[in-house]
Amino acid sequence: MSRILRLLRTPRGIASLLLMLLMVGMAFSAPFLYPGDPMDMVATPSLWPGEDPEFWLGTDLMGRDLAAGVFHGARISLMVGLIASITALLIGTVIGSIAGFAGGWLDTALMRTTEIFQTMPPFLFAIAVVAVLGPSVENVVLGIGITAWPSIARLARTEVLSVREREYVAAARCAGTPTTLLLVRHVLPNAISPIIVTASVLMATAMLTEAGLSFLGLSDPNLVSWGSMIGVGREALRTHWYMAAIPGCALILAVLGLNLLGDVLDDILDPRRQA
């Protein structure tokens, strides 16, 4: 326990916690700090940041408050990132652990399937899924989730492979534990922690993918997300570059926080590493 605290008190640990706190705080405070629709025109268009204290981050081409957009955008970006990475985590863990645990032809078949999904360029595949099914939040989540799972499946398979021959698993098998129970009760809990650690990095990637999709216009047109704000800001890039720069900075901070958190979790999990 004290080791975990020590690792969290490193500069990396503190930075990751602060960044995560900031992002979650923005997401939760958005409806109170900026009530009303962030897509509404509220002020003179193209105000620079600091020009009007009431709109401290300025306004975009259509007079929408950038600060309101950034705060409300945190909700969409974090939510899509979270649900998409949980989806990928579920698909990947189920496929990977079954492949590793069953072995034989099932392993070969599942891993070949994984290879197929790993071969299709993930971002392009996600674009195709959203383009075919239509731009909505659900389809964006599905598109990201369906393309992000192969790395998790490989990881889960490796972990399960290393656990499945342990003595306590053999003991449980001898005691007559049914196969499904053996996997869910004895193998998975001991193989899951490296998978959980990658979840934060997976969420970071999912948020970047979501931003890329909504930058291309593949998101719910009625919801504001950081990617779509960058897309709107791009139209005034020559004269008002801050419109694209500000939501991008928010995205970088969020992704940075998640990546750092992944590093710290990795250190906590690996007992050989010192604080």
Binding site: T119, P121, F123, L216, R234
Partner: protein, 326 residues
């Protein structure tokens, strides 16, 4: 020895056949899950159609056949190089793709070389000076590059280098106002390449730097490195030749694994810089809802990834004699 590599290559090639089949199947299923079929599209373009006409259209395109018959038909088409027809542009999909592929490769290949080169150099430097301020600066840079969305980095590059400093062009592949040929044309294209190539390389350079640092750190602790040092080899020979060559292997694996990400990143970068490549074509297909074209691009990109994996596998065999023996 050469026979070993060829055998290895043939084996890998055989292994990629089922993957290719799977990619085609997934592509087919995606196309099937789109609302409306080809007959609906054609009827929509004509304004109206009677139910009899729709039936006739479906019969003509084989859309009334069972799903597996349609798939076999699609598979046969794809394998004979027919990726379908772009009904929006009235051109075969493969023609459109082949026309744009060179421009995309002109971005991807230099970006990959730049990313691998600078990443391994920076990662190697960070590992040699582990714990020093150089290592710290490189690590922070890697973290930032890791977290920056490519398209945003591209936009900011345009603001800084094209709009404010006016050193480089905003986008496109060549200057449309000047009629250039020969060396001036090459130089002009190179000038247009700088920003998109650097943008595309940014994330991957960070990835390889991080990997190279970890991998070189661990191989510097190996016994053979101590032996090499003990027999009095120069630090350069020890670090670059003995440890470096072994540290290279995980980086090579990663280059193969990340080929798909590079292709995907290309779409955003090409869109940002109006680069007339496959990514830009995919974006236009998206805007026009030209699914045949979009899925054709997915297919061709997947084949590109398979090819890149194949090449890295071969390089792997050359870099590591132990792999060859298997």
């Amino acid at each position: 020895m050469g026979g070993g590599i060829l055998q290895q290559a043939a084996k890998r090639l055989a292994q990629s056949v089922p993957v290719l089949f799977g990619v085609i199947l997934v592509n087919f299923l995606l196309m099937q899950s789109a609302p409306g079929d080809l007959a609906d599209v054609l009827a929509g373009e004509q304004g109206a159609a009677t139910p009899e006409m729709m039936l006739e259209l479906r019969a003509r395109f084989g859309l009334d056949q069972p799903l597996w018959v349609q798939f076999m038909h699609y598979l046969g088409n794809v394998l004979s190089g027919d990726l379908g027809y772009s009904h929006r542009l009235s051109v075969p999909v493969l023609d459109l793709i082949l026309e744009r592929l060179p421009a995309s490769l002109l971005l991807m290949v230099p970006a990959l070389i730049l990313a691998a080169g600078s990443g391994m150099l920076l990662g190697g430097l960070a590992a040699r000076k582990a714990g020093s301020w150089v290592d710290g600066v490189i690590s922070v840079g890697v973290l930032l590059a890791y977290a920056t969305p490519l398209f945003w980095a591209g936009l900011m590059g345009i603001v800084l280098f094209a709009v404010h400093l006016q050193w480089l062009p905003v986008g496109g592949m060549r200057d449309p106002s000047a009629d250039l040929s020969g060396l001036p044309l090459v130089l002009d294209t190179l000038r247009h390449m700088v920003l998109p190539v650097c943008t595309l390389a940014l994330f991957h350079a960070a990835l390889y730097a991080r990997l190279m640092r970890a991998s070189l750190l661990s191989s510097l602790q190996q016994d053979y490195v101590r032996t090499a040092r003990a027999k009095g080899l120069s630090p350069w020979q020890v670090e670059a030749v003995h440890a470096g060559r072994n540290a290279l292997l995980p980086v090579l694996t990663m280059i193969g694994l990340q080929a798909g990400t590079l292709v995907g990143g290309g779409i955003l970068v090409e869109t940002v810089f109006s680069w007339p490549g496959l990514g830009r074509l995919a974006f236009d297909a998206l805007l026009r809802r030209d699914l045949n074209l979009l899925l054709g691009i997915v297919l061709v990109s997947s084949v590109t990834v398979i090819a890149m994996n194949f090449i890295t596998d071969l390089l792997y065999g050359i870099a590591d004699p132990r792999v060859r023996a298997l």
